[in-house]
């Protein structure tokens, strides 16, 4: 190197919107290795290994079918109950996992962050990708169940064109969880009590999303309060998911566009606040 130019600088203040995307690209190998680490360590530490990926949604579906479907008798838009619930649970789990894991990213990685520099965004990104593996496995379970109901039980449901929106939905769920999670993670470095709120909050949020009931029922029974469910950005995502795979659900371009808008806004805000906190967070732990 024979130029006098300095190739890097460290400044006291950084631009809020300097996302260092080229740096993240340079560290892409780390992203994959972290995903691998998550998967391998999970696999090695458990007896049942990847079977856990199945057990959780399966049992939740069974319980939901009994409690909400049979005991409470909540409508499932004429769909087989287990299928209805599993669609909701599979999608919801991915979002919820992304959100909760991302929200503790500073706390969980304080040790590494305090000793080595790498673009911090790699960590939340690796969480989203790791969870994608899990989501993929659960999708297989969901598809198997669809096949079972179609060929064995002979239940009526139909796949619609909206299934082509599946990749969009997955990206939306990932980014929504990522954005909200990063905002929370940035805030928990200062106000620890927020961390307790997350698990609880996610649980509550599930009931404000159309996981265990269809949007149509909510509007019909509680016309006054249905807006809470309607303006929850996860609702259009899950509704679209159900509409695509099972042919029932309230799909509209408007609401999906709304969910996209909220996702983008949260994501941008999340990245900005994350980048800001990341620069000095080691001083406060």
């Amino acid at each position: 190197m024979h130029n006098d130019e300095h190739t890097w600088t460290i400044e006291a203040k950084a631009s809020l919107f300097d996302l260092k995307l080229n740096e993240i690209w340079a560290y892409r190998d780390l992203l994959w290795l972290l995903v691998r680490r998550d998967f391998v360590s999970f696999y090695k530490q458990t007896i049942l290994g990847p079977l856990w990926f199945f057990i959780q949604p399966l049992f939740t579906t069974i319980i939901f079918t009994f409690i909400f479907g049979n005991l409470a008798g909540i409508s499932t838009d004429g769909l087989p109950k287990p299928l209805f619930y599993m669609a909701g649970i599979t999608a919801w789990n991915y979002f919820a996992d992304c959100l909760t894991k991302t929200s503790t990213v500073f706390k969980d990685n304080a040790n590494i962050f305090g000793k080595v520099y790498f673009p911090r965004l790699i960590m939340p990104l690796s969480i989203v990708v790791s969870n994608l593996v899990r989501f993929g496995v659960q999708m297989i379970l969901f598809l198997l169940m669809m096949a079972y109901y179609h060929f064995v039980v002979g239940a009526s449901f139909n796949i619609t064109w909206a299934i082509t929106l599946f990749p969009v939905i997955v990206v939306l769920m990932a980014l929504l969880g990522l954005g909200a999670g990063m905002i929370i993670s940035a805030m928990t470095t200062k106000y620890r009590d927020l961390a307790f709120l997350v698990t609880f909050g996610v649980q509550l949020l599930m009931y404000a999303t159309t996981v265990i009931y269809p949007l149509s029922t909510a509007i019909e029974k509680y016309p006054k309060y249905a807006w809470i469910v309607k303006y929850n950005p996860m609702t259009p995502i899950i509704e679209t998911f159900r509409y695509g795979f099972l042919g029932e659900g309230s799909f509209s371009w408007g609401s999906l566009g709304y969910a996209t808008g909220v996702t983008v806004a949260l994501l941008i805000f999340g990245i900005v606040i994350f980048n800001k906190v990341e620069r000095n967070f080691v001083d406060t732990v």
């Binding site: 300095h6 460290i10 590494i112 520099y117």
Partner: protein, 420 residues
Amino acid sequence: MSKNSAIKVENLSKAYQLGQIGTGTISRDLERWYARMRGKEDPFLRIGETNDRSIKGESDVVWSLKDINFEIEQGDAVGIIGRNGAGKSTLLKILSKVTAPTTGRISGKGRIASLLEVGTGFHPELSGRENIFLNGAILGMRKKEIQRKFDEIVDFAGIDRYIDTPVKRYSSGMYVRLAFAVAAHLESEILIVDEVLAVGDAEFQKKCLGKMGEVSKGEGRTVLFVSHNMDAVATLTSKSIYLKNGKLNLYSNTESVIKEYIEADKNEVGVYSKEPKLNIPSFTRIEVLTSEIDGSHMNGKDLVIDLEINMPEVIEGMSLSLQICNPKEQPIIYTYIFDTDTPLLRKTGINKMRCTLSNCKLYADRYYLIAHLAETKGKSKFEEIHRICEFEVVMPNKIIEWGWQKDVCVYTEDFRWEKK
């Protein structure tokens, strides 16, 4: 800027907030945030306070580094020395981009590899092979680069038989060797090394020091090296930076910097001095005489504390006591003397006293004194001075299996083990 400068540091400062950060002060946080948003300076930062932890600052903000300026030329090996709390680690952390400076800027040329710790990100469940890749990637290597160096790394660590064993089954020595081997093979123009060599066995330490020397002298890399070990600094570096209370005290060739450091430290360490008070008895000087030349105290050696007390008039029944506390403010040792046992402080003007703690076996940590001056009969307390004469205790350079871990105890005792 000179032609070959590799790192240039300008007006670098770093402020830390002491105490509980944020809790219960959301309003204050908002105020600060609002000020920052308008581009104003933080209303709670007070300029001009130096980072002297033996004196309690007025605000709860401490400048860990203050207006640091220096330039390092390409290919130089530079040592950074200074007492604990002088700002060495902070400087390294800022250079490694782990934390951001409060003011100032650093510019540099070439890729930086920093080693504040060996084995960062090692996962116990993963095999040695998997950890080499993960750790290498965390340190900033591309996968291809690691693949290319893989054999060399394994060879350097000397663990080829166990390369596919999970590292949780490694001995601590193997673990450290593997971790250092990865770091030592980083390709970078600038290498920053904190005192990470304190771990591992003596043989391997030598090997690492050798490897580092190779790095700086042979390959023309720029090296920044922090250590308390003056021998290592002297062998590895040609220039050194001497930090003192967050300020750059001297930047010159290593030999003269070390000389200056040892000289200055002799007079500096653990001294409290104050003008005598007019009407009441007061401490005018308290000094901890530690056992080592760099101002630290070796576990097991005599610790001597010299005191000077000014008595405006003779008072009978004086008492004098000292507490030695650890950073968690737990008093560990209490030592005292009463006039009723031994007549003391019976002359006007300066009275000199000496307290010797024979074979003081405080465990490795930082300690400070609380000094009390009182009159026992009338139960009047003349003076109580907190947090003075801070000193550091180090452990004998004996290799034990795990290295000296932090916080395992506060005091050691002679012991003997036998088979029954």
